[in-house]
């Protein structure tokens, strides 16, 4: 039995996977994309929106080319993660939840990313950055285009 057969037998539509694909392609999940997915999967658009808005890795708003996710979990908090958030905010001039005007960075806070042994930590896109200090921030951000 092929993997495809498994999917079809239960009508598995993999809506989350499709939304992620759309996001990877267009940078976010737009209303048009959600409408198109609803049509092709034959499900109500509010179900698609419900899923798209539930998960923090999916965004219904346009995002920057690079997504900064600073861990706000306890181990990072105990190692002064707050100062990292302030440094990033200062460096790129936006606060968590915003995207820079040039579309280079989106700034988000995230829950534990499992890098607690080297807190404070953040992810930019899928790259891990650890043992952060305010002084390291400008150099790290400078490596992203």
């Amino acid at each position: 039995m092929s993997q495809q057969a498994i999917s079809n037998r239960h009508g598995e539509q993999d809506l989350i996977g499709r939304l992620k694909e759309a996001q990877a392609k267009f940078g976010h999940v737009s209303e048009e994309v959600m409408a198109e997915l609803a049509r092709s999967l034959d499900i109500p658009i509010n179900d698609v929106y419900g899923v798209a808005s539930f998960y923090s890795f999916l965004s219904t708003q346009p995002l920057g080319r690079n997504i900064i996710r600073i861990c706000q979990s306890l181990p990072c908090y105990l190692k002064y993660g707050q100062t990292i958030m302030e440094s990033v905010a200062q460096e790129i001039g936006i606060i968590p939840g915003e995207t820079t005007a040039d579309g280079k960075f989106s700034f988000q806070l995230t829950n534990c990313i499992g890098l607690c042994d080297r807190a404070p930590a953040m992810m930019i896109n899928y790259d891990s950055h650890v043992d952060l200090t305010p002084k390291k921030i400008a150099q790290i951000l400078g490596t992203y285009k």
Partner: protein, 643 residues
């Protein structure tokens, strides 16, 4: 090729590697190692070897545990013991290559310890060190030793022999074996694994699923990431054994998107299993059919809850539902489903290989085997550990973790993430097992242990956890959605000095309502951090509420900074550094902080030279200082005598 042929080839390859005439170099390349610079170490190693025209077998291995000492590099010279070097930098690599590989000086100054057989003068045996001596490696048996992207290395170390043994038994016998081992779910709840399998096996239906829960999300927990990055086949073999025992033909690994390296290594592992006919139809000619898929999460903590996780696999919002029906009766797409977490599966493959008596020889009466923990927070040796159940918290914090940095005092250890609690020094002798931690008001949880020192405010920690559960509540149950918000508001008020005497009782009351009125464990355990901190640290709550004082000097609204007139040298460093221009002063003038402008950022305290020590932080008291800058009357510190 039969499994016996695969195995004998893998063992021959491994023996050639282990007993060959080339040196071996192992580089810890899990996320922790990579983040610490393992890739640069790898490049430097290749460059140094090329420069000296040397050949060596380099293996990128998973994490052996002492993440604080990463990057780790092990060198095994033929006929010599394996030496583990810590905090290796690209600058150190050429010395190690030249001095040890070429000139036979093992650089004991840079070595953490030797591993395995043999010893060297001046270098301790790694597993005799206090941090590793109490540890037992069952789930992590191969982490740091094998190449996780090479199935042959897993097979060479007896991998998949547990599966072969299981296939020679009846499914019922396999379940009996797991029951006898005493293994309990390592995801946190501690439900007996064999019994869970039996429910699922006995559920009527021809299509059954098994799911690996790799949606590790507790703040401070990274055990499952490390295990999947270091030895994915240990987990996958466990899943195959369970598929056979339960009669499942399809399975999923639900893994969080935040773990890209673990996902990559799982994909490689699945491909290699398929090549060896360890996945697909008629596995190893046994008639077992099993298909396995990876499902990546999309960033939702609640999806670690089993019913929410299944909803997410089905492509829906990750919202929990009521049980019964339990997943074993009606789970994924309404079919009988068995869910275990990553570590549980890795124990299953070990048990089937080495037997129940061996496994049950570790641990205590009702808590057999080992448990992995992630040590983080205010502790000297952060990292991943695996210890027999029943070990005391004290041994973990002080022997393995080497206590608190900077000579600070231990305040509490937080176990079980947002579902757990903070246990104070009086509980340190407590054995770490499911019942004991529950009795103390916390839970075992998946294995995060965050150590908190005297500089941490316990009310602030409780506030932090409520902020977490409040934002991660899926919103389905009103007591969880609104109750956590109310608790958070109360805790924020207390931290801001706006707490009322009746708030503690109110917190206790709302806690009971949230516990009683929530469907899933996220809501059902959300009040635990508050309940345990009230239980053990009520005096700190009361200091905040009654005296408007934060004993740990953390809560910004309750602390003040002052510049001491008899210590200030008028150097102006703090004045220039203050981001809110709250400090006034002048040359040889005592500087003064305008309390109405101060944002409590602590910059002045941090920049004031240690030899002056003129800035103090206090809570609940006022220090008498000049209202505006006045000339300095004390002499300079070189002639200044301490009172």
């Amino acid at each position: 090729m039969t499994f016996a042929e695969i195995q004998s080839r893998a063992k021959a390859e491994w023996a050639a590697l282990e007993h060959g005439d080339k040196p071996r170099i192992l580089i810890g390349s899990a996320t922790c190692g990579r983040a610490a610079g393992a890739k640069a170490v790898l490049e430097a190693t290749n460059a140094a070897l090329a420069q000296h025209n040397l050949e060596a077998n380099i293996t990128e291995v998973g994490c052996i545990g002492p993440c604080y000492a990463e990057p780790l590099m092990d060198i095994i010279k033929p006929g010599r013991p394996r030496i583990c070097y810590s905090q290796v930098t690209p600058e150190i690599v050429p010395w190690l290559i030249e001095d040890y590989i070429i000139n036979d000086n093992p650089h004991s100054d840079l070595a953490l310890g030797t591993i395995g057989d043999g010893s060297l003068d001046g270098i301790p045996r790694l597993f005799d060190l206090p941090m590793l001596k109490p540890q037992v490696r069952i789930a992590l048996r191969n982490c740091g030793t094998i190449d996780p992207e090479e199935i042959n290395q897993y097979i060479a170390r007896d991998g998949y022999r547990g599966l072969v043994r299981a296939l020679s038994m009846t499914p019922e016998e396999v379940i009996e074996e797991i029951k006898k081992s005493g293994l309990r779910g390592r995801g946190g709840a501690g439900f007996p694994t064999g019994m869970k399998w039996e429910f699922c096996r006995k559920s009527p239906g021809t299509v059954k699923y098994i799911i690996c829960n790799a949606d590790e999300g507790d703040p401070g927990a990274f055990m499952d990431r490390s295990l999947l990055e270091g030895d994915p086949h240990a987990v996958l073999e466990g899943m195959l054994i369970s598929a056979y025992a339960i009669g499942a033909t399809e399975g999923y690994i639900y893994i969080r998107a935040e773990y890209p390296l673990a996902i990559d290594r799982l994909k490689i592992a699945l491909r290699q299993m398929t090549e060896y006919e360890l996945l697909g139809d008629n596995i190893l000619g046994s008639g077992l059919n099993f298909h396995l898929k990876i499902k990546e999460g999309a960033g939702a903590f609640v999806c670690g809850e089993e019913t929410a996780l299944m909803a997410s696999i089905e492509g829906k919002r990750g919202m929990p539902r009521s049980r019964p029906p339990f997943p074993a009766q009606s789970g994924l797409w309404g079919k009988p489903t068995n869910i275990n977490n990553v570590e549980t599966w890795a124990n299953v493959s070990a048990i089937m290989l080495r037997g129940t008596a061996w496994y049950a020889s570790y641990g205590s009466d009702k808590n057999k085997g080992t448990k992995t923990f992630a040590l983080a927070g205010k502790i000297n040796r952060t990292g991943l550990i695996e210890v027999p159940l029943g070990i005391s918290l004290k041994e973990i914090v002080y022997d393995i973790g080497d206590g608190i940095p900077d000579g600070k005092r231990f305040k509490a250890v937080q176990t079980g993430g947002p579902s757990g609690g903070c246990l104070p020094a009086s509980q340190l002798e407590r054995p770490v097992d499911y019942e004991s931690l529950t009795e103390a008001g916390s839970i075992m949880g998946s294995g995060g242990m965050v150590v908190i020192d005297e500089d941490t405010c316990i009310v602030d920690v409780a506030r932090y956890f409520l902020a977490f559960t409040q934002s991660e509540s899926c919103g389905k149950c009103v007591p969880c959605r609104l109750g956590t918000k109310q608790m958070l508001n109360i805790l924020e008020n207390i931290c801001q000095g706006k707490g009322k005497v009746e708030d503690i009782d109110l917190l206790l009351k709302v806690s009971q309502q949230i516990k009683a009125g929530s469907l899933c464990a996220l809501g059902g355990t959300a009040p635990n951090p508050v309940l345990t901190t009230i239980r053990y640290f009520q005096d700190e709550y009361e200091a905040h509420i009654k005296e408007k004082r934060c004993p740990a000097l953390v809560c910004p609204e309750l602390i003040s900074y002052y510049i001491l007139a008899d210590k200030c040298q008028g150097c102006g460093i703090c004045l220039r550094a203050c981001p809110t221009e709250a400090i006034t002063g002048g040359k040889r003038m005592v500087h003064v902080i305008d309390q109405s402008k101060c944002n409590k950022c602590s910059t002045c305290l941090n920049v004031c030279p240690d030899r002056f020590g003129a800035v103090v932080k206090v809570s609940g008291e006022e220090i008498k200082v000049p209202k505006k800058p006045v000339p300095i009357t004390v002499s300079k510190p070189d002639t200044y005598t301490q009172r």
